[in-house]
């Protein structure tokens, strides 16, 4: 077999990484760049740090080796090499596999995935952004699902804190929405608890109004 082509990626913090062609092609973005002729020199990835790229490459390598072993254990029909097959496997029910070998492979993959995505919040969200930029569907789905499960239990205020999202409602709008939201989720006790938490960390409507008036020249 001819020697596999190798490509060099460079991260935003100046580090370089060598990967095989098959691994590189897991990323649609990189694949497009190579096909457009940018593969001869370093492929720059200004949006990705080395720490994150390491994780990404780990994923891509696993994806490729998993595909290779699935070709051996499945009943021979050509599984699509497209990233979607990864996603399809995630959603497929175990009864799809015919052999015990195939079943074991899928089990191992699931375990690997669980460990792989068991990372702290900062890394997860950076990984998510990177997967989006690099257009790696399977990684994107995995990270997005994990991110969703992480933010699900948070209060709106915690979300704003974590992601530095500005509360751009007027105090009246905000009160209006909160009143409606109260119907939507919590028991009266839970709601009271959360309201107290918010009261500790947040401006009252009067304060908001004050701030708005005082800073009108800066905002408008």
């Amino acid at each position: 077999m001819a020697s596999a082509k190798v490509f060099v990626l460079r991260t935003c913090d100046g580090e370089t990484f060598e990967i095989d062609e098959s691994v590189a092609y897991v990323s649609e973005t990189i694949k497009n760049m190579i096909e457009d002729g940018f593969g001869h020199d370093l492929i720059p990835l200004p949006n990705v740090s080395s720490k994150i790229l390491l994780k990404v490459i780990e994923y891509c390598r696993k994806h490729v080796s998993n595909f290779e072993s699935s070709k051996k254990t499945s009943n021979g029909d050509e599984k699509d090499k497209d990233n979607d097959s990864w996603k399809k496997e995630k959603e497929a029910v175990p009864e799809v596999e015919k052999d015990a070998e195939e079943k074991a492979r899928v089990e191992e993959l699931k375990e690997w995935e669980t460990t792989f995505i068991d990372i702290d919040q900062q890394v997860l969200f950076d990984l998510l952004q990177a997967a989006n930029y690099l257009n790696i569907k399977g990684l994107l789905v995995m990270a997005a699902e994990k991110a969703a499960s992480m933010i699900r239990g948070k209060t709106p205020e915690q979300i704003r804190e974590t992601f530095n999202i500005k509360n751009d409602f007027t105090p009246e709008e905000y009160e209006d929405i909160r009143k409606k939201d109260a119907m939507n989720d919590f028991t009266p006790e839970e709601y009271e608890e959360i309201r107290k938490k918010i009261a500790d960390n947040h401006f009252t409507p009067e304060e908001y109004e004050q701030i708005r008036k005082e800073n009108a020249w800066a905002i408008e």
Partner: protein, 449 residues
């Protein structure tokens, strides 16, 4: 003065969570946010509407986001939720509020005291309120009123007719189907005895807006389609296999003579309206008892987990027939699948008591008994005296879910599935507002898993 307060950095220390205080605030692009948020359940998203304006837009107003969200959730076959509609209850009812697993509660205004809810399991709910139709999304609490059909000489007199609600998955469209019964007793040609059918399509182009560029979409309004072969019972249509099913309304005034060419006895017939093709077909159902002696609720069509079923209650026993192997044009087979001895607390009136009771009360003001849901060898049964109960099919035991005291008087339970589907439209009938005077409360609950 130029005092600037930093809104971004909260003056008080942020609450510790998952080591984030070690890092700068995290950043996600809008595209990625859409990917993540669309995987969250409806309840969580409604709670997050207040995070910022962008999120509120995505969750309430962006049809692309709603579409993506339903795409991520359709495969998980989420369990339906339960809801009740009742006249806004007095304060005593607040005491029982915590029973069941409450999700939310909201109000709307109706024209009649007790509007009908069409029993379906979609994410939208259709309510028949005399000659007015309302559409509601119980998850988002949105509520619109459809324009009335144009007054013709037939629809201006006589009862309000039977209403059915259907859904076409290939086009993601809902249709409201209104069957207007014939007007009797005025002599004239046979044509007066036809049951007219009007259809209203709720298209999903740009969130039900009136202007749509697609050639296949229907105009926003009522359209008359082919007549129904029979007059139908006003109650309990069942939507199964892309068609709305009604029992034929049998009364002594209908004589088989009027229905030439049909081999099926109208007394044992179901009328099915295919919502996509907008055509009627007929299905025979098993003879249970002489229909004339039944209350409307003793003998009813019901959809249980995708199957068309016929529930026959006689004394303390409920028989459930299921229409198996039902394919669109071929007929299926009726199988008497369950025969349930009702809970001893279910108080049923014997025939004489019942006739006496019925003569003094409105049609829906008496005991009823109906199957509501079936899952994992348990059937959810509702009666007016016992409320909602689970009947374990193997052990034949009963397990209470919601007591009848807790349930709104005279009203039964209905299903919906959670979704963010928006009903924003410019074409709601604004003119009806004055007619809507009764306050109704919708209360939503989760079924126990």
């Amino acid at each position: 003065m130029g005092k600037t307060i930093e809104r971004k950095n909260n003056p008080r220390p942020p609450p510790p969570m998952m080591g984030s205080h070690d890092h700068d605030p995290l950043f996600l692009s809008k595209e990625v946010w859409i990917n993540v948020l669309s995987r969250l359940p409806v309840k969580t998203l409604l709670r997050f509407k207040c995070v910022c304006k962008l999120w509120r837009y995505l969750i309430s107003d962006d049809p692309h986001f709603v579409h993506l969200h339903s795409h991520h959730h359709s495969k998980s076959k989420s369990e339906p939720c339960l809801f009740f509609v009742s006249l806004t209850p007095p304060e005593e009812w607040e005491k029982h509020r915590e029973e069941g697993n409450p999700i939310s509660r909201f109000e709307f205004k109706s024209k009649t005291l007790l509007p009908f809810v069409i029993p379906t399991r979609f994410d939208l709910v259709c309510i028949q309120d005399s000659d007015i139709i309302h559409i509601c999304n119980p998850s988002t609490h949105e509520f619109i009123t459809l324009p009335k059909p144009p007054r013709t000489s037939f629809s201006s007199c006589g009862p309000d007719g039977s209403v059915g609600f259907g859904y076409i998955s290939s086009t993601d469209e809902y249709k409201v189907v209104r069957l207007i019964p014939p007007v009797y007793g005025l002599g004239g040609s046979r044509r007066r005895f036809t049951t007219k059918c009007l259809v209203f399509t709720l298209t999903e182009r740009r969130g039900f807006s009136s202007y749509s560029s697609s050639s296949s979409s229907s105009p926003w309004g009522w359209r008359r389609v082919v007549d129904s072969p029979y007059q139908v019972s006003k109650y309990h249509p069942a939507f199964v296999n892309g068609a709305i099913h009604w029992l034929v309304y049998y009364c002594s005034r209908i004589d088989a003579e009027f229905y030439d060419g049909h081999m099926i006895d109208p007394r044992n017939t179901i009328v099915a309206f295919d919502v996509e093709k907008e055509e009627f077909r007929l299905i025979e159902h098993p003879r249970c008892r002489d229909l004339r002696s039944f209350k409307y609720s003793d003998f009813q069509l019901v959809e249980l987990r995708g199957l068309l079923c016929l529930s026959c209650v006689e004394g303390s026993k409920m028989d459930i027939w299921m229409f198996k192997d039902y394919h669109y044009n071929k007929s299926g087979t009726w199988v008497k699948e369950y025969s349930i001895v009702l809970h001893p607390h279910y108080h049923y009136l014997d025939q004489r008591e019942r006739d006496d009771h019925n003569n003094r009360h409105r049609e829906d003001d008496y005991d009823y008994c109906a199957p509501r849901d079936i899952k994992d060898r348990k059937m959810l049964i509702e009666t007016r005296t016992t409320g909602l109960e689970y009947h374990h099919l193997q052990t034949k035991s009963f397990e209470g879910f919601i007591d009848s005291k807790r349930m709104p008087y005279l009203r039964s339970s209905f299903f919906y599935t959670e979704s963010l589907r928006s009903l924003k439209t410019k074409q709601s009938a604004q003119g009806n507002i004055e007619e809507l005077t009764y306050k109704q409360t919708v209360e939503c609950l989760k079924l126990p898993s």
